[in-house]
Symmetry: C2
Subunit: 615 residues, 2 copies
């Protein structure tokens, strides 16, 4: 069979793949390249997100799906769907580098407290053995460290005799509460580093900290490369179920990505990798399962059972994490299959578990996780918000990348928007979608039921100014947000289906909040603080969020944005072992309400489909 | 360079080795073959122990050393020293199979108590998960086991979800106090086996136990294959120091030997290897270091420092011990560089640490280890007895093999002896040596100073009947114990130098006992019980041992032989975790007296050189 060469340009580099005639272009690429391509529909030609540009003559026939999803102009300029195009000759493909321009939320609450990390270092100067003091080498060290009886692995122990004598009994011990991890020559006690990692379904953020001072040194982030195997946790779980080595594959991907981030951090900051002894992992329950090699399959089906929720302490080398040879990985505990270690981290960072006032913590991503309560008790739930706010199920939705419309409001005569990086608009991201729907709601172009009205139904005068923006796309009503003139390509529209997606998200979040309020027997007004965690919560416009009814209007003035709280929590646990141990209590004592088991939730959900206050 | 074939016959099998012209025969052999050859002098042609028979024409010249060490008759029948003979042509070599006929002490004190081993099994039937009971798989198991919070490695944890569901939530957990080792399908709780191993410098004994019933099932033993690298601990330590991979080599040897013994035991008793979850190791401090891969070098020089004395808990797979995949190895603690885990085992087995009476425990091997005391305190010392009783430094000394003279006494007119297996005498083993020296001492042929007297100095009439047995060998006085007529080869003699060797052993043991008695402020008569442990102690004739002065005459009637007490102790620790934990106290609380640091000991030693009571 004929073999063709696919040359891929991406991030100013070029790679070649040899594939058999007829291979689907998406399958022809390597993992790294696939990770740059969005495939929320799983390669079925439905979502139209996997656009790539094919340069030169494209021998492959344009499929019906491509004709439907790509504009004339796009087709002319060589844009194709990677999931549909077959390789029928030598071709050259250009990928838009997403991650290079992706807006990833790294910042959060800063930890201010003493540095007392799990992995400690202590320099000791031991007395020499003699006939009067025949203590063995281990005992001599352990007694001086005042950590008698702490185990040490035989590989490390076997090096001890020579090390002690070569160093004239001056060494530095590295240990945690479980064991002596290693013993180093001389005094290296001032070099103790750790990395906190928040593994999101979409993005991975890693923080490097100096555990001597407790200071954050640097941050690195990237899109989660597992994206190549599905946009959301369910499709990743499906991948592990359908492929015998699927779990290994996804684990290898995330582990090597964590390694890449760590390497970037240590290189950039001139830190020795062998002085990084600890890693803290946060992430949703599925991401943690994938990263630690635990099969996540029973999380995806009723009754949603994880393998293990408790905090884990793992050997970095066993996990494949490349830090100091005997380094350790601490995995924050989880609360349920859909309230993960990321939320435990966010609870830690927000300190709502110690607060005397009543708090509401909301993290909206693919799932919306909601936690309510204070030091006397926390209750949580998770709602399947779906990836609409990440742009995935929205016709022109994109992530927070350069060129994404990120704000929208009514100007004096027409809609006014901004884009990330102030570039030509290429799509619309989460905050832009919320702004758009909210603005059109204000203007009466969308009604409370979520319907895009017809021109003659527009209920406001201002709204009528936009009547020329009403259109139909694939036989459904739509509103043009940016014209082809502005985009240089096709119009960017908000379709009726897009609005329904947003209604679903709104309904699930609002009904989740309502459920917790009912569960605690409180009223909306009793909530003193609302903490918005995660990327979406950070970039969202509060007025629009309240207008949609995502957050009860009574709470508008009580909102605090806390950024990447999962990452902040992981950092705190990295720097302070007491904080880490508090996570255990958070994991064990936070109540979890399974919404799918509550008939009332379904009713609330339907009622909350209306835009505006429904809680 | 020419290459020759060395064909070795041993144990009814034949092996071939290709070696270069001029290779020393000993170096031409494999490890297994070398282990069958005694080389106490380290291959220097001094001891004459490495005799092998070379069949057919032997092209290599007979060396001066061989002429000195081998009789005419031996040389005629093809006997050569393996350490001196060069390979100068294709040759065929016959090794006498020692281990097949070696008398190894396996029996000891039987443990009678409840079975409560470290590694336990428990069958559980778990409730099914539901929306009302969303506990994760680990938690569901751990709570039912009532061992909440016990870690489990991720490899095992990752198998749990499928296992539980395939087995309808009926499984058997295998766990110790540290972790859940594995989870098995269905109910396998009745299959729990363990192996206790006593690693002696000379012999290795392994006991298989059913940890459900606490019953000993079977015993297997062999000579320690490390023998090929030296007869005693010091030469083995030297091997690890002189060869970069020496420690690995010796560790591999003992580990594979332990594996062989375990395989023999499970095969013979139709036990599944995967149902053997625990191994207990006892042995002297150096053997334990070699088996666990810890460098023993600082044990061999002042101030004799081990790497670690405390009890160790190791992963069997990391150590290379082939039992259940996640099996564990418990290493009994040690007291000092020369009071090892074997003595801790012997203290446990003899129960002197719980006794209200005053006890003396003596284990004579290459070193003589002596422990004195009771429940209020134990004090120990180790004396460098040397391997004389194992036959190594005695001209015609042999181990306890078939054909060894093992008893000797004066008959009506002449000496009367027995041999192991009632075969033609081929040498003299430990008990035979003690009997011989003692008998000659009774008869006045050896005087109290250890001198072999001349014919006219014999002080007893009976002794004079043996005057024809007096001879000289290599210009030193000697006594013929078995004539060439009886042996079919050369005379078996006891030389003046041999007697001096025995005096050294006697002096070191007696001075050791004296030191402990002085240290405790007691008198000889205060000792209520003397426990003789180990092979030598089991086979020795008490009357002769007392006559030599090895054991004070006042204690003759208080002697109890306790056999392989180290092995018995290891068995007890295997069956009962409480006994294992008691070893920690024994290890920590038994005082150790370093004889080499006591000037008084040297004086006592010299005084104890006289035969007879010196304590």
């Amino acid at each position: 069979m004929a073999e063709y060469t696919v040359t891929v340009e991406y991030n100013s580099t070029e790679k070649q793949f040899k594939v058999q005639k007829g291979t689907i272009l998406l399958d022809a690429l390597g993992e790294e390249e696939r990770a740059q391509i969005d495939t929320p529909c799983g390669g079925k030609g439905i979502c139209g997100k996997c656009k790539v540009t094919v340069i030169g003559e494209v021998p492959a026939e344009i499929t019906a799906e491509e004709k439907k999803k790509l504009s004339e102009k796009e087709l002319e300029s060589g844009v194709r769907l990677a999931c549909m195009t077959k390789v029928e000759g030598d071709i050259r493909v250009i990928l838009a580098s997403q991650s290079a321009y992706m807006q990833i939320l790294e910042m959060g609450i800063e930890y201010k407290g003493e540095s007392a990390p799990c992995v400690q270092k202590q320099h000791v100067s031991l007395s020499q053995p003699s006939l009067e003091d025949q203590r063995d080498d281990y005992q001599r060290l352990a007694e001086q460290l005042e950590i008698d009886d702490l185990p040490i692995c035989n590989r490390e122990l076997s090096k001890l005799p020579e090390l002690l004598r070569e160093q004239d009994f001056e060494v530095t011990a590295v240990y945690n509460q479980q064991e002596i991890l290693t013993v180093e020559p001389g005094d290296t006690s001032s070099s103790n580093y750790g990395v906190a990692v928040d593994i999101g379904t979409t993005t991975v953020v890693a923080y490097l900290a100096d555990l001597g001072s407790g200071k954050k040194i640097d941050i690195a982030s990237d899109q989660n490369k597992q994206k190549a195997y599905g946009q959301d946790v369910i499709s990743r779980i499906n991948h592990t179920m359908k492929n015998e080595d699927g779990l290994d594959q996804l684990q290898d991907l995330i582990v090597s990505q964590i390694n890449d981030l760590i390497h970037t951090l240590v290189k950039r900051n001139k830190v020795e990798l062998e002085h990084v002894y600890s890693v803290i992992l946060a992430g949703n329950t599925t991401m943690i399962h994938l990263a630690t090699g635990l099969p996540p399959r029973y999380i995806s089906t009723v009754p949603f059972i994880p393998v293990r929720k408790k905090r884990m302490l793992l050997s970095a080398s066993e996990l494949g994490i490349e830090i100091a040879e005997n380094g350790r990985v601490y995995v924050l505990p989880m609360i349920s299959g859909y309230i993960g270690a990321d939320i435990v981290g966010a609870i830690l960072a927000s300190q709502i578990y110690q607060s005397t006032e009543t708090n509401l913590l909301i993290d909206i991503g693919t799932n919306g996780e909601i936690v309510m309560g204070n030091k006397d008790g926390l209750v949580s739930c998770s709602t399947a918000a779906g990836p609409a706010f990440e742009g995935a199920t929205i016709r022109h939705g994109v992530g927070g990348i350069t060129g994404a419309i990120n704000t929208m409001e009514m100007g004096s005569k027409d809609l006014v928007y901004t884009t990330i990086g102030d570039k030509k608009p290429i799509g619309i991201c989460g905050s832009g979608i919320v702004d758009s729907v909210s603005t059109l709601l204000f203007l009466g172009i969308i009604d409370q039921t979520g319907r895009i009205v017809s021109e003659d139904e527009i209920s406001t005068e201002t709204g009528k100014m936009l009547s020329n923006r009403l259109t139909t796309v694939d036989n459904e009503p739509a509103v043009i947000l940016a014209t082809s003139k502005e985009t240089g390509k096709e119009d960017i529209v908000l379709t009726q289906r897009d609005v329904r997606e947003i209604q679903n998200v709104k309904a699930s979040i609002a009904a989740g909040i309502l459920t917790l309020i009912k569960h605690t027997g409180l009223e909306v007004e009793d909530i003193d603080h609302v903490y918005l965690a995660g990327g979406f919560g950070s970039y969202i416009n509060r007025i629009h969020a309240v207008n949609l009814g995502l957050i009860p209007s009574a709470l508008e003035e009580r909102i605090t944005v806390i950024g990447n709280a999962a990452g902040s929590g992981a950092m705190m646990a990295l720097i302070s072992k007491n904080r880490l141990f508090e996570c255990d209590r958070i994991g064990e004592e936070t109540e979890y309400v399974e919404l799918s088991s509550l008939p009332q939730f379904q009713e609330d959900y339907v009622n909350c489909m209306f835009f505006g206050d429904t809680v």
